[in-house]
C-alpha cells in the first residue's frame, strides 16, 4: 500500500501528524480527542448538517465544522474555548426545540447523544416559549425498526446508511423546515438484512429496535466483546447482558472484518444462549427410562464408562464448525489418541451454499469456525466424508451438536439418522426436545454444553483470519465446554488451575494493609477489617 504523506497540525495544543486529506474530526477521532458530533459517522459520507462539531481554527474569524474541514499544514485547531462551547450549547438548544424529552420511556436514554452533550455543554433552561411541533410517534418502519419522529434530530445518518451501505434506499427525509420527518416510501418498508444498524447509528432514540424495545434499561446491562457465531464472516460484536441473560448484540468496529456493521441475523443469535432455550441438565436413557436430572459432569462420566474398551471400528465422532478451535482439537485428539479411531465426520449444514456472499457481510456458511475445523482435521490426517457415516454400523456415536440450531435446516432429520446408533452420546447447548421423545433410541446420553459467549477460544473465519475471544458471562453454570467433556470422555478428571497450594497462604501473599489514613488506623475495628 502506498504511504500517504503526513502533515502537521496542532489540535488542542497537541502537535499531531495526520494523513493528508483527512478532516479535522477524523484527526481528532484517531487521536482520541473528544468532540461533540451527531451527523458524522466514520463509516458514512459527510453530511455536515448537525452543526455541533464546531471548532476554532486559528486565523479564521468564524467557527468551522470539524467534519467537513480538511486539515492543512500547520493548522491550529481547538474545541475547548468558550466560544466553541457556546456554539455547541446553542446548537443543542436548536436540536431540542421540538424534542419531546421522552427520556423516561425512551430506549436510548442512558446512551443518548442528546443527553451526553446536554450534560457536557447544556445545563440551561430552554429559552423557547413556543409550543412544540407535534410529529408522528411509534411509526412502524418495517419488521425490525420503530421510528419516533419527534425524537429525530434529522442528522440523516440512517438515510445515508440505506443509501451507501445497504444500498436499499428505503429511508428519506420528507417535508421541509420543522415539518421535516424521516420516513419510508409507500409500500416499501425498511426491510433489509442490515436494517438494525440504523438503530445503532441513530444518535438519539428516534429509531428503536423492535426486538429490544422496552425489554431493559441500558444501564442495567453490562457489555463485553466477542465474535459473532452467526456465519463464517466472524463479525466482532458487543454482547449486552445482565444476570437474567443476554439482551442484545451490537457490532464492534474492526476494519479488517466487519467495519462498523453487522447483519440482523447475527443480532438474533443471542436467543439460543438464554436459559429458556438451553439444555440445562444431563440426560441418560437406560433400560427404556430417561433420567433427566443428571449433572453434566456425571452424564459425561457415564458416557465415558459406556465407551470403555470399545474398539476403534465401533465408535465414531460427528462434529460441527460451531465450536472453537481449542475445543475441536481437544475432542478430535481424544478420539484419535484415546479411542484410536479416525472415524471423525464433519456435519456441515451449509456446504452447498458455503461460498455464497451477499457483498456486504453475510456469508452462506452458517458456521463460524468451518476453517478451524478443517485445520484440525488436516492436522490429525482425517479425511472422511459425512455421507460415509452409517450410525447403524458404528455402535457408539458421539455427536457434538450445533449451538445455532435454527440454521441447521435438516436438524430433526439428522437427529433421527443419528438415533440409529446403538449408543448415542449427544452433546448440545441447545434444548433438543425431539431427542428425548425419540422412540427408536436404545441407549443415549445427553451432555449439556456451554455456548460461545460462555467460553474463551478461537474462531477461524472464511478468510483464514483467526480471532481469539474471551468469555463474556456464564448463563448455565453447570454446562461443560467441549474441552471439559472431551477430558471426561477420555477418562480424565477436569482440573481447575490453582496457585500452588503451598504458596497460597504465605505471608508474602497477604495483601497490603488497605487502611492508609492514620486516624482511621486508630479505630481498632476499621484497622482489623482493613487487614482482613
Amino acid at each position: 500500500m502506498q504511504q500517504q504523506p503526513l502533515i502537521n497540525c496542532t489540535i488542542n495544543g497537541v502537535a499531531l501528524q495526520v494523513k493528508a486529506g483527512s478532516t479535522i474530526i477524523e484527526a481528532m477521532y484517531e487521536n482520541q480527542q473528544k468532540i461533540a458530533h451527531y451527523c458524522w459517522h466514520p463509516g458514512l459520507s459527510i453530511a455536515g448538517v448537525c452543526r455541533l462539531c464546531m471548532v476554532q481554527i486559528e486565523g479564521n474569524p468564524r467557527l468551522q465544522i470539524a467534519c467537513n474541514t480538511v486539515v492543512t499544514e500547520g493548522m491550529k485547531v481547538n474545541n475547548t474555548s468558550d466560544q466553541v462551547k457556546d456554539a455547541a450549547k446553542w446548537g443543542l438548544d436548536f436540536h431540542l426545540i421540538n424534542h419531546p424529552l421522552d427520556c423516561p420511556i425512551c430506549d436510548q436514554a442512558g446512551e443518548c447523544g442528546l443527553q451526553e452533550q446536554y450534560m457536557e455543554f447544556g445545563k440551561y433552561n430552554s429559552e423557547m416559549s413556543e409550543k412544540k411541533q407535534k410529529k408522528h410517534k411509534v411509526v412502524d418502519l418495517g419488521p425490525t425498526v420503530v421510528l419516533d419522529s419527534e425524537r429525530c434530530i434529522l442528522c440523516s445518518r440512517c438515510v445515508r446508511f440505506t443509501d451507501e451501505v445497504s444500498k436499499t434506499h428505503e429511508l428519506g427525509i420528507f417535508n421541509r423546515g420543522d415539518h421535516a420527518e424521516i420516513g419510508t416510501h409507500a409500500g416499501k418498508p425498511l426491510d433489509n438484512k442490515y436494517s438494525l444498524n440504523t438503530v445503532d447509528i441513530c444518535p438519539v432514540g428516534a429509531l428503536t429496535s423492535k426486538d429490544f424495545r422496552f425489554r431493559q434499561r441500558v444501564w442495567f446491562l453490562k457489555d463485553s466483546e466477542t465474535v459473532c457465531n452467526g456465519c463464517s464472516t466472524g463479525c466482532n460484536v458487543k454482547v449486552y447482558f445482565n444476570k437474567e441473560g443476554v439482551f442484545r448484540v451490537k457490532p464492534k468496529r474492526n476494519d479488517n472484518i466487519n467495519g462498523h456493521w453487522m447483519c440482523d441475523e447475527g443480532r438474533d443469535v443471542y436467543k439460543f444462549v438464554n436459559k429458556e432455550n438451553r439444555m440445562i441438565k444431563g440426560h441418560k436413557l437406560a433400560n427404556g427410562q430417561w433420567e433427566t436430572e443428571l449433572h453434566a459432569g456425571a452424564a459425561a462420566k457415564d458416557a465415558a464408562t459406556s465407551l470403555k474398551g470399545v474398539s476403534g471400528n465401533d465408535i465414531a465422532l460427528v462434529v460441527t464448525g460451531q465450536h472453537t478451535v481449542e475445543e475441536l482439537e481437544a475432542i478430535v485428539s481424544t478420539f484419535v489418541n484415546t479411542y484410536k479411531t479416525k472415524n471423525v465426520y464433519h456435519w456441515w449444514n451449509s456446504e452447498a451454499t458455503a461460498s455464497e456472499f451477499d457483498g456486504i457481510l453475510l456469508r452462506g456458511d452458517k458456521n463460524p469456525n468451518t476453517k478451524g475445523l478443517q485445520q484440525v482435521f488436516a492436522k490429525h490426517g482425517i479425511n472422511t466424508k459425512f455421507s460415509d457415516l452409517d450410525p447403524s454400523k458404528v455402535k457408539h456415536l458421539v455427536v457434538v451438536g450445533p449451538e445455532n440450531v435454527p440454521v441447521y435446516k435438516d436438524f430433526t432429520a439428522k437427529l433421527e439418522f443419528f438415533a440409529k446408533a446403538a449408543n448415542l452420546i449427544y452433546m448440545t447447548s441447545a434444548k433438543v426436545d425431539t431427542l428425548t421423545t425419540n422412540k427408536s433410541l436404545k441407549s443415549a446420553t445427553i451432555i449439556p454444553l456451554k455456548t460461545y459467549i460462555e467460553k474463551s477460544g478461537t474462531f477461524i473465519n472464511h478468510a483464514g483470519v483467526s480471532q481469539t475471544f474471551k468469555k463474556v458471562t456464564t448463563v448455565v453454570s453447570e454446562a461443560l465446554t467441549v474441552t471439559e467433556a472431551a477430558a471426561l470422555l477420555s477418562g480424565q478428571e477436569i482440573k481447575i488451575e490453582t496457585l500452588n497450594p503451598k504458596n497460597l497462604f504465605v505471608a508474602a501473599n497477604t495483601p497490603a494493609d488497605q487502611v492508609t489514613l492514620d486516624y482511621r488506623k486508630k479505630n481498632e475495628f476499621t484497622f482489623q477489617r482493613g487487614k482482613l
Binding site: P104, I105, K137, V138, F214, R217
Partner: protein, 174 residues
C-alpha cells in the same frame, strides 16, 4: 457507666418528691375519668391513629383519570431503590400516546426500607408512599405486592389519582 450515689443529707427528704409524683398521676386520672373525650390513649387495634399523608408507609401506585395505572415503566424507581426490591416488566401499550406501560410491577415489602427514594425518582407521580403501615401477613409470599395490591387494594377505594396528566401536558404543547 459509673453509678453516682447521692449520700448528702438532702437526699433523705424523698417523701415530698413522691407525693408530688402521685399528685400528678392522680390529677391525670381524675381528668380522664371526668373528661373521657380528651383522653389521648387509643384502644389499639380497634382505634387507629391517622398518620399524615406525608408519612412514608406502604406504597401506592397512582392511577390516571380513566383508572389505568399512571406508571410509564421507566424503571427510574427501580434504579434509585437502594434495597433493589422493585421489579418491573415493561411492554408496548396499544395506544401510541401511552407507548410504554408496566405489565408487572412488584415490590418486595420485606426488603423495602421505606426510604422514599422511589417516590423521589418518579417523573410522573406514579408511586407514593402512603400513610398505611400496618402490614400483617401470614407468610412471606404475602409481602411481594403486585400491581393489583399497589394500585387497587381496598383501602385505596378505587385508586389514588396522580397529579400528572398527559392530556393537559400535550395540550399545553410540552
Amino acid at each position: 457507666m459509673a453509678v453516682m450515689q447521692n449520700t448528702s443529707e438532702k437526699s433523705k427528704w424523698y417523701l415530698p418528691g413522691i407525693m408530688t409524683g402521685l399528685g400528678i398521676t392522680m390529677k391525670h386520672m381524675l381528668k380522664n375519668i371526668f373528661n373521657k373525650k380528651e383522653m389521648i390513649t387509643l384502644n389499639y387495634p380497634e382505634e387507629k391513629y391517622e398518620y399524615s399523608p406525608r408519612f412514608k408507609g406502604n406504597h401506592i401506585l397512582t392511577v390516571k383519570k380513566d383508572g389505568a395505572i399512571r406508571c410509564t415503566a421507566c424503571m427510574l424507581c427501580a434504579t434509585n431503590c437502594p434495597a433493589d426490591c422493585i421489579k418491573i416488566t415493561a411492554s408496548e401499550h396499544p395506544d401510541p400516546h401511552v407507548e410504554k406501560y408496566p405489565i408487572a410491577y412488584e415490590i418486595d415489602m420485606l426488603r423495602c426500607v421505606f426510604c422514599g427514594f422511589c417516590e423521589e425518582a418518579c417523573p410522573v407521580d406514579a408511586i407514593r408512599l402512603g400513610p398505611e403501615w400496618q402490614t400483617p401477613g401470614l407468610n412471606g409470599a404475602n409481602f411481594t405486592y403486585d400491581i393489583k395490591q399497589l394500585a387497587y387494594r381496598p383501602g385505596l377505594k378505587g385508586g389514588v389519582q396522580s397529579v400528572v396528566d398527559d392530556e393537559e401536558r400535550l395540550k399545553s404543547g410540552i
